[in-house]
């Protein structure tokens, strides 16, 4: 018995008959149902649906439990964004898949009068796998670039000018004072020439810089500048540069999932509120932050709101841009919400009971999250091993099947193998009568190869 790799095609068949038009993305056949069938791959739908369900759960919970602080709220919005990564680790995304939807018949002359009907099993590119792997690759690239060069790129994009130690002495004194109060190292100070009032943080560690626009320094009094500094220093203290980087990287990993944008937007807004609250606490007069925000907001009205692609690029490299932005999923809460939260700081007292309530909610969420693993593992016992800790990737079941020529084509029942589901193993098969004894391929389960079995090649063809 010969075993011939169908790729390239065996010579004894007409190439046109044997090789259907190769389609890297076999979407055209099934129409919208084909697309849905293709999306129904566990690594994809669990990544999308898992993230969506958890984000909506967090959103619903947080609407109800209003007493949770912004720090916890932002972390809760961050957590579901890790779901796709966990799912991908458990169920590896596959860049290729098998396609079964082509039934072909071979010309009788090629098979010496016998008509063989068979299914061509093709290994084709898996569009869903490509999308997912693209997200992972982009996330990895963004993370690497941001860690290594993010600070420098951001400063260059925004034309940041580092100030000498004797420049803007009043601002320098304010920054030093507020940083000391917050218990953080004094950041470097830089400016941009923009006449719009703006302030933001760039870089981390020793490279952390507090950047002001000339417009901001011109319109604000020293006290108001102190309020802005308090807000920005709070961002530094909360390590928001890492928090935001994590959010932005995870958003890119799930770039095809609208819920990821929603979660990131919510988390960023909570971080802003947190910086407002902590900034207000750092100031002797918390209401000053509110009046300063109003002043900046009013001044910003003179400028058209930003929506350019370059502006979006800038926002990748900086933390807390204090500027107006047109976004579907805004990174900053509305002025009203911010002012209300700042006013709350004045009246809020630390409540012991609230801490207990917060802890209870977190425990509840953790229990719900962990419990979700078990039905998932039960449903996909073939993909996910049923161990909670020390989770290993599930083993694929090796399989073999044969198709008998001249009979109705059907896929072997015991093997759960449907179009769109990435499989690993050696698949096969087109044969002449009688049914062939197929070799045991289970030992080669990790090798993806399509084999063609021809027991009786036609001589001379």
């Amino acid at each position: 018995m010969d075993i011939i790799d169908v790729n390239p095609a065996p010579t004894f068949f007409h190439a046109t008959a044997l090789r259907p038009t190769f389609s890297a993305f076999p979407l055209q056949d099934g129409g919208s149902l084909g697309v849905i069938a293709m999306l129904m791959q566990p690594f994809f739908y669990y990544a999308v649906a898992g993230l969506a369900v958890l984000v909506l759960l967090v959103w619903a919970l947080l609407r109800h439990f209003d007493f949770l602080g912004s720090k916890i709220r932002s972390t809760l919005y961050l957590a579901p964004l890790f779901v796709p990564l966990i799912v991908y680790a458990l169920i590896n995304p596959s860049l290729t898949m098998f396609s079964f939807n082509r039934t072909i018949s071979f010309g009788s002359h090629a098979t010496n009068g016998l008509v063989s009907i068979g299914v061509i099993v093709e290994e084709v590119l898996n569009p869903v796998g490509i999308v997912v792997v693209t997200g992972l690759a982009l996330g990895a690239v963004l993370f690497t670039i941001m860690i290594l060069f993010g600070d420098r790129i951001g400063r260059r994009l925004l034309n940041v000018v580092d100030l000498d130690s004797h420049e803007f002495p009043a601002v320098r004194v304010i920054v030093k004072k507020v940083a000391k109060k917050a218990g953080t190292p004094t950041p470097k100070i830089g400016i941009i020439e923009d006449i719009e009032p703006k302030a933001f943080v760039t870089g981390w560690g020793r490279g952390t810089s507090l950047i002001f626009s000339l417009g901001l320094l011109q319109i604000l009094s020293d006290q108001e500048i102190e309020a802005v500094v308090a807000h920005e220093i709070s961002h530094i203290r909360n390590r928001d540069c890492f928090f935001e980087l994590t959010l932005k990287v995870l958003r890119i990993v799930s770039f095809f999932n609208p819920c990821a944008y929603f979660a990131v937007s919510k988390a960023l807004r909570e971080r802003e509120i947190l910086a407002d609250e902590q900034g207000a606490k750092l100031l002797k007069r918390p209401e000053l932050l509110g009046t300063t925000l109003i002043k900046i907001w009013e001044a910003l009205k003179a400028f058209p709101a930003e929506r350019s692609l370059s502006h979006y690029a800038f926002s990748l490299f900086i933390v807390s841009p204090l500027w107006r932005n047109i976004e579907i999923f805004p990174s900053h809460p509305s002025l009203n919400v911010r002012l209300r939260k700042i006013i709350d700081v004045r009246t809020k007292t630390t409540d012991h009971h609230e801490r207990i309530k917060t802890a209870s909610v977190l425990v509840l969420i953790a229990i719900v999250g962990i419990s979700m693993y078990y039905p998932l593992a039960y449903l996909h016992s073939d993909l996910i091993t049923l161990t909670m800790f020390g989770m290993g990737r599930g083993q694929f079941i090796p399989f073999t099947f044969g198709i008998t020529a001249g009979t109705a084509v059907s896929l072997p029942a015991p093997i759960e193998l449907r179009q769109g589901l990435p499989v690993k193993g050696e698949v096969a098969v087109l044969s002449k009568l009688p049914p062939l004894p197929l070799p045991d391929l289970s030992g080669n389960a990790e090798i993806v190869k399509i084999l063609y079995y021809n027991p009786d090649p036609v001589p001379g063809n």
Binding site: N159, V161, D164, I192, E193, D194, L214
Partner: protein
């Protein structure tokens, strides 16, 4: 005053070059902008160029350029680009135009206030050679003719 004129506000006898009319930093910034041969320029660009040559603070360059704008030696407009809305500057006069305008104003002022003294000084105190005297004579005759 036309746009190609600079109104001289000071004249420092003990200085050299354009510093007789302007502050030393102002001259440095003007020279830098002329030499960069790019227009318009932001303060940051001028600062970075100067910074390559000497220790200078951004705010110094910024305030100097503001002053030069107020003196109408620089023009500026608001531009939208990388980093938002910012001012960009360009020179209102070339170096030659600035020198010509300033020198003319100084001599005009001297002649207007001390015309006779200036003429006496040129004719008596200054050792003009024959050629210069001849040129002067021709210019005077030409001028007198046009007045008739």
């Amino acid at each position: 005053m036309s746009s190609k004129e600079y109104k001289v506000s000071q004249y420092k006898l003990n200085s050299e070059g354009l510093v007789v009319f302007l502050g030393p930093l102002e001259v440095e910034v003007m020279n830098e902008i002329w030499s960069l041969k790019k227009a318009p320029l932001s303060v940051r660009e001028v600062y970075e160029s100067l910074r390559g040559k000497k220790e200078i603070a951004y705010t110094t360059v910024m305030s100097t350029m503001n002053l030069l704008y107020e003196k109408k030696l620089l023009k500026r407009k608001l531009e939208k680009g990388k980093g938002g809305h910012y001012y960009v500057y360009w020179t209102a006069l070339s170096e030659e135009e600035l020198k010509k305008s300033a020198v003319e104003q100084v001599i005009d002022s001297l002649i207007k206030n001390f015309g006779e003294t200036v003429v006496n000084y040129i004719l008596k105190e200054k050792n003009l050679d024959e050629k210069e005297l001849k040129t002067m004579k021709e210019l005077l005759e030409e001028r007198l003719k046009s007045k008739e």
